[in-house]
Symmetry: C2
Subunit: 142 residues, 2 copies
DNA sequence: AGTTTCTTGCAAATAACTCGCGTTTTTATT
DNA sequence: AATAAAAACGCGAGTTATTTGCAAGAAACT
């Protein structure tokens, strides 16, 4: 989890071909600081309070940032989207079926498994990145 | 993919402690016949046309069937739920980031990976079943 | 600075899903 | 088979999550 300065954020946006607006920078900065995927609600709540950003703006920036490959969306079967900064590395997480606990697990590779799956696939030739979610009950809910 | 008769469906419902209503039987039968997860929209559309089932009823039955462990929900980051029959076996799928193509891949085991993840986890002791989604672009979208 | 193009705020619209309630169906019991 | 309690249903209205139209404002190019 590298540390990104404001200049780094701006560089990321420029390299992605996106305009560097104040709000877009804020949205991406916010996500860079998190250790786990956050809900859109949390982002809107925080950014609205802190800088008065409108929810439509948050949604629009999440879309543009995702299309640029800078952030990643996951739903975790909870009925609303979560976003996180796109590190480029595959992400693996344990998800609670009851509460919304999500725990990211580092140091795991499933590249071999992905290769095996692609070999068996008829509709996919290759995958960009991948993510794996394992669902169960966390200690508190079990 | 075993073949389930109407009697089998009824037995499944009874063993799960659910009432055997006409509509509930239809919803579960519908899902048993699919080879891949289907959207709620597809289910409502088909069941409304065929038997006049109301959408609220479809939703309520999906909830009760899921709570009983007979079906499984997945969102695939598309913003709406998909459901499939719960086979008890882990499921692994390739998901297109662009269109909504979902391809299930059989014959893969990631039990060792899951074990490794649980060993590293702080918040989870064990998982019931699991599912893995690998995201990329399908051949048509690539 | 001027202009083109993208972004924003606001309010209204849409999509996905849920709820209240009176009526009907299922299931347990006679 | 009749019957009563519990659960399920349809229908319309309500929520929640997300999107859109449009006029005004900010970035980026010249």
């Amino acid at each position: 989890m590298a540390i990104y300065s404001k200049e780094d954020i701006i560089t990321l946006l420029q390299e992605a071909g996106l305009r560097v607006t104040h709000h877009r920078t804020s949205v991406l900065s916010f996500l860079v600081k998190q250790r786990a995927p956050v809900t859109v609600y949390e982002m809107i709540d925080s950014l609205r309070k802190k800088e008065g950003i409108d929810q439509a703006t948050v949604y629009r920036n999440l879309t543009s940032l995702q299309e640029a490959g800078l952030i990643k969306r996951s739903d975790f079967n909870h009925g609303h989207a979560h976003y996180e900064f796109e590190t480029g590395r595959p992400s693996h997480q344990l998800v609670c079926n009851n509460c919304e606990t999500i725990e990211k697990i580092d140091g795991i590779s499933i590249d071999d498994t992905v290769k095996k799956m692609l070999k068996k696939s008829k509709k996919f030739k290759r995958t960009t990145t991948h993510s794996m979610e394992i669902y169960g009950l966390c200690k508190s809910c079990a």
